[in-house]
């Protein structure tokens, strides 16, 4: 298949997927009881007012008394033009809230993720090239425990030990701390560690599984017969062929696992990133903010998926993998 044709098809699919997901979201919001209107109705009822009236008022303010197709067009247009409306709780455009929050999320997620990928790949490759050794056993067991460890509980346990009992590290995040400072690291170290452990286990397992396929590949034997040393051999002939599928998995993983972990971690350590914003929006029923903070991971996932597929076709010299195990 022609690569250009493939890539353009892939881009079209991403656009289409975005469209479908937005439509679906709109549909859900339209047919379901609006949590925020329900809340207004509830408080009106408790204060002796008319709940129906309160509900309608909220609907009116938000333009929900218009026919659905008008609302739909409005919704789609505003979504695509990044005109995401105002947050009810912050009384400012949602975009501003997001822009203020995201550096914290980046600082929280990126370092441990990179560290987890590097360490996870290294341990995974070690495991697969030393299959059945003690090191492999320890590595795979560690991964197994890591995967089963509830992150939020682990975070609390760390906090209990290091912040509450030992008093080495601060309990709550402090926004007044200089962003680029060593002091900041003291605040970030536990959240980093939780995200790192959350990610490393799966990276390790993927790396082990993917490279295991090549440990006994015929070309590995050819390479060994050339007189290559084991390090070069492992890097070039076992790790490198696995790298392309690994990148694919990792991108999917980043969005799926790491964003979810980050949300929980931000809530626990009160780091004012996107996750905490999202959480507070959910609790306070700030629908515009909820919508955007949930859509961000979704769009990152769609774009990530697209990039990963494109990268795959461009990086992989093989037209197909069929010959691999023939």
């Amino acid at each position: 298949m022609n690569m250009k044709w493939y890539i353009s098809r892939r881009v079209l699919w991403a656009v289409f997927a975005t469209f479908i997901i937005l439509t679906f979201t709109f549909g859900l919001l339209l047919i379901s009881p609006n949590p925020e209107a329900s809340a207004a109705a509830f408080s009106a009822a408790t204060e002796g007012g008319d709940p129906e009236e309160a509900r309608e008022r909220v609907a009116e303010i938000r333009g929900e008394d218009r026919p659905w197709h008008e609302q739909y067009v409005d919704f789609m247009v505003s979504m695509f033009t990044l005109d995401w409306g105002n947050s009810f709780t912050y009384h400012e455009p949602v975009v501003d809230t997001i822009l203020r929050a995201y550096p914290y999320s980046v600082a929280l997620v990126v370092p441990p993720t990179i560290a987890a990928i590097i360490a996870g790949f290294a341990i995974g490759v070690y495991s697969s090239t030393h299959q059945y050794s003690l090191g492999d056993f320890l590595g795979t067991s560690f991964a197994f425990f890591g995967l089963s460890l509830p992150n939020f509980w682990f975070a609390i346990m760390l906090m209990m030990v290091f912040s509450v009992y030992l008093g080495w590290l601060p309990v709550r995040y402090d926004t007044s701390v200089e962003f680029w400072s060593l002091e900041h690291i003291r605040y970030l170290i536990l959240p980093w560690f939780v995200i790192w452990t959350g990610a490393i286990a799966s990276e390790m397992r993927y790396a082990r599984a993917e490279t295991l396929e090549y440990v006994n590949a015929a070309w590995t034997k050819t390479a060994r017969a050339k007189g290559l040393d084991e390090t070069t051999l492992t890097y070039r002939h076992i790790f490198r062929p696995a790298l392309i599928p690994l990148i694919t998995i990792v991108i999917g993983d980043l969005v799926g696992i790491i964003f979810a972990t980050a949300l929980v971690v931000e809530v626990i350590f009160t780091v004012p990133g996107l996750g905490l914003i999202s959480y507070q929006a959910l609790v306070r029923q700030d629908t515009p903010l909820v919508l955007v903070t949930i859509m961000i991971p979704v769009f990152i996932a769609i774009i990530g998926n697209l990039l990963q597929d494109v990268a795959y076709t461009m990086l992989d010299p093989r037209i197909s993998y069929e010959e691999r195990d023939a």
Binding site: A225, K226, R236, R240
Partner: protein, 347 residues
Amino acid sequence: MTDTEPLLQVRNLETQFHTDEGIVRAVDGVSFDVYPGETVCIVGESGSGKTVTIESITRILQMPPGEIVGGEVIFDGIDLTTASEKEIRRIRGDRISHVFQNPQGSLNPVYTVGAQIREAIQANRDVGKKAAREQAIELLDEVGIPEAGARIDDYPHEFSGGMRQRVVIAIALAGEPDLLLADEPTTALDVTIEAQIIDLLLRLQEERDMAIVFVTHDLGVVAEIADRVVVMYASKVMEQGHVHEIFDRPAHPYTRALLDCLPGPDGVTPIEGTLPNPLDHPDGCRFAARCEYAIEPCFVGEHPSLLPADGDEDHLVSCLLYRDGHDESVIDREPRRADPFAVGDDT
């Protein structure tokens, strides 16, 4: 040939695999020699331990589960079974090279063939990238790839099976080895390509004066290329000797039976039965269950050791009937074909 020193001496090699079912004795006391510049063919049924023997020599066998548990492999005065990783790495590629059965899988699909040949050159010689590339092109040219300069940057999947095997041979030649271990290098190819690859190997052998150990099922090929033949069965050597002795006066009943498998005037006579289970080799002669000459002593004790047939030190056979006190003449040693060496020509 006996007056020069052997290039490679395999002595009582024993290689095992540790599996869930138990210990697989894949090579169980195999000995043979390879002299400089000659071609030794190893023949035997599938599963008889040929590949494991070959791969034990340079220890490229998968270890674990494989393990060399006994014997010696003497190359250039060093015992390769106990040599350090470093020593053996210097020998791999540089002194002893391999060509494998499966040309599809033998090349890494994510690198160009040029990169893979260069890697072999640079693993053994201290040359720059550019010089290595030049050499790689020369090598590709030498193994008969047309327009080598243009094809060097292609990926393996852009080559046909036969061409890929040529690339693998080029890689094997990169370190100018003294010994080439070729494990069924033509089995995966069709007949015309097979003939070309064999011609290529013979030509290269002549030009470079290397010894070749060639593993094959195809007795026709053996007749065409071998100087000496090693016949393996159930992890043991049954018979070894000069190719003419093996074909003209086969001593071992198994060799006899193998030759009967060749299409001859009486048609094909396949060997009845199957190879014994390497997890649990039977007592006595390993071939006894299928041997038409078997006598009672064949079923007890150890497998008979290799002894000269006809008093000829170069022609060894492991069969009780060649011991004193037995009558070897029961074995009909005349070849059934008029000219076994014609076989190679009509393939």
